[in-house]
Amino acid sequence: MKSSRNPVADVMVLLALLLALLLPTRSYRHWVEFGPQQQVITQNPKMGVHTRLTDEVEPWKIQRTLEMVRQMGAPWIVEYFLWAAHEPQRGVYDWGHADLVIDHAVNQGLTVIARLGYVPEWARPPRTNHLYLDATGYDDFARFAAAFAEHFQGRVKQIIIWNEPNLSQEWGFRPVDPAGYAELLCRVYPAVKAANPDVQILAGALAPTLAPPGSEWGLNDLDYLQQMYDAGAGPCFDILAAHAYGWTFSPDDPPSADAVNFRRVELLRDIMARNGDAAKQVMITEGGWNDHPRWTKAVRPAERVQYTLRAYEKALRDWPWVDSLAIWAFRYPRPTGTYQDYYTLVGGDFQPKRIYLETQAYAQGLRSQEAQP
């Protein structure tokens, strides 16, 4: 190869080539254009979905997911942000992927409720589960939550602290500990408010379960919530996050302490009221129905559509204390090959399921929630 007469020029060309190769790998943003600011058009402003973008790598898929949520008519999304991914070393933050998700969501006109959890290795004892966080790590988590709230100031206004802490698995395979969770909340709350007073702290996100006291797998959500209050959690959250799964029951089935159904959330609401928190709102951050052909807690696809639309309508008309209802789950990055796939509204290839199309028609006022498919 013939060299140029100017070695400086050669070096500059080489550097430019290297930069051209390296830059796209340093930023997610080179791959998709944001486009003009969008807004959600819907007849039901409480509609939401839980997205699953945590492990979605490709930016165009993140954008396409959020675009389809907007086109369906849901103004709210709940998304999971992993502490371990965003603070890989103590005090070292990497917001790249979270920025991408949240900026695309905001661009689509969506409001993001951010769920925080997943403990980095440096914040927990060796050989413990990624959901294990004991009291020695609470301040680290509070600092992370505050950093998150500060970084996303103006873009995220609701943060869920942990997920389903009433299940042993979600509590690092330890016995569940409502007082411990209350303490975590009360460490996080002032730290986040100091960093960003506009942020609202969501607590609970309890799994609807009938597990009795003493079960090795968890504790039922009603007892757990009361024990949270007993431990002083009340002043340490602004909104209760609730999970409302219907299983085989219609959304109008009456609530009962010994049944898991959609209206069980009303029992949580009663506990809030009994503990002086009637003025606080509830956000349903997971919920809905499954339509697998054989799972014993599933319904038929047509019933799922009917129940889901009725649930959205119920949140809008009957539950003024509910701000939003997020259906689990919009789309999985990859199929699980199990009945879990039958919770989604959109296939992995972005093909909309019937439930997506019917929900979209409902949001546009083209379909009544009572109509049969």
Partner: protein, 303 residues
């Protein structure tokens, strides 16, 4: 000490080391503590979510776990001379329960999850439960559909769609079969008539009644339908593959080897049909309790 004596001592040490390793491998299974404990206690702790018939559910009379996965665990345990003990675990928690060593294995209609192989190990698949095309045994479409997709792997939708052009394809409204049918329809520019029914069984009945040429359903629904006397067969490769496998801890290589050996033996003796390839009707499983119309290829010795 002379050089020769040193050599003899070194040789003896080497032999002792090798003998020790051999004994350890024999007794403990390559340092596999899970397998060693199963052997020592005579109990194999199997996690499952008993809410998924016909694979695992609670028997209405006895309240005990019953179903295909329960039978499978018992048959494997019996081969090892141990007892399968079932632990009810919520589905969401099953894989993590294995990782956390709360159970020795999970058998609960779990599919191989390649993205989780860093944390756990999956056995060879024991059953294919994916979405299939079902036609009458005498269907003229069989040769063309069986030729699609070669011997293994999910076939391309465009390839499957060609023989279906101009045909009537039935599925349950809103189901996975409905979604796949709409994708196939798009591949042939709409030249495929989509017939929708209110349930999977109604969709299969529509084929038997001549109201549709092909149904798209999951392999297990088809097997159950066939078990009830419906004479439809699956053709070609699954449109979407869902291979069920047994999950074991990452650091349990001997347990994994034993599980795979047991599955291979069950396949060889006909207790368990091959999990890949074209899915037959009821005889993808030969456990008569799950599929009453099947004839067990071998007698079970479940404990």
């Amino acid at each position: 000490m002379t050089r020769r004596r040193w050599a003899i001592v070194a040789l003896l040490l080497l032999v002792a080391l090798l003998a020790g390793l051999l004994v350890r491998r024999t007794l403990l299974g390559s340092g596999d503590r899970t397998w060693a404990r199963i052997r020592q206690t005579g109990v194999w702790r199997v996690g499952m979510d008993p809410s998924f018939p016909p694979f695992e559910n609670l028997d209405g009379v006895t309240g005990l776990p019953a179903g295909f996965d329960v039978d499978l665990a018992r048959v494997i345990a019996a081969r090892w001379g141990v007892r399968a003990e079932f632990v009810g675990v919520g589905f969401d928690q099953l894989m993590d329960a294995v990782v956390a060593n709360r159970v020795d294995s999970a058998i609960s209609a779990l599919t191989v999850a390649p993205h989780r192989t860093e944390e756990m190990r999956f056995s060879e698949p024991y059953l294919e439960a994916g979405m299939v095309l079902a036609v009458p045994e005498s269907s003229r479409l069989r040769p063309a559909l069986e030729a699609v997709g070669g011997r293994s792997g999910e076939p391309a939708m465009a390839e499957v769609a060609q023989p279906l052009a101009g045909q009537r394809v039935v599925a349950e409204w809103g189901s996975e079969g409905d979604a796949l049918a709409r994708r196939l329809q798009a591949q042939v520019n709409g030249d495929l008539r989509l017939v929708l029914r209110n349930s999977t069984d109604d969709a299969l009945r529509a084929v038997l009644a001549g109201e549709a040429d092909v149904a798209i359903v999951d392999a297990i629904s088809l097997a159950l339908f066939a078990g009830d006397g419906g004479s439809l067969v699956a053709v070609g490769q699954p449109l979407r593959s869902d291979p069920y496998a047994i999950v074991v801890p990452k650091h349990a290589p001997e347990l994994l080897r034993q599980v795979n050996e047991a599955l291979a033996a069950l396949r060889d003796d006909g207790t368990l049909a091959a999990p890949t390839g074209a899915v037959a009707t009821c005889c993808i499983l030969t456990f008569s309790r799950c599929f009453p119309a099947c004839s067990p290829a071998s007698s079970m010795t479940a404990s």
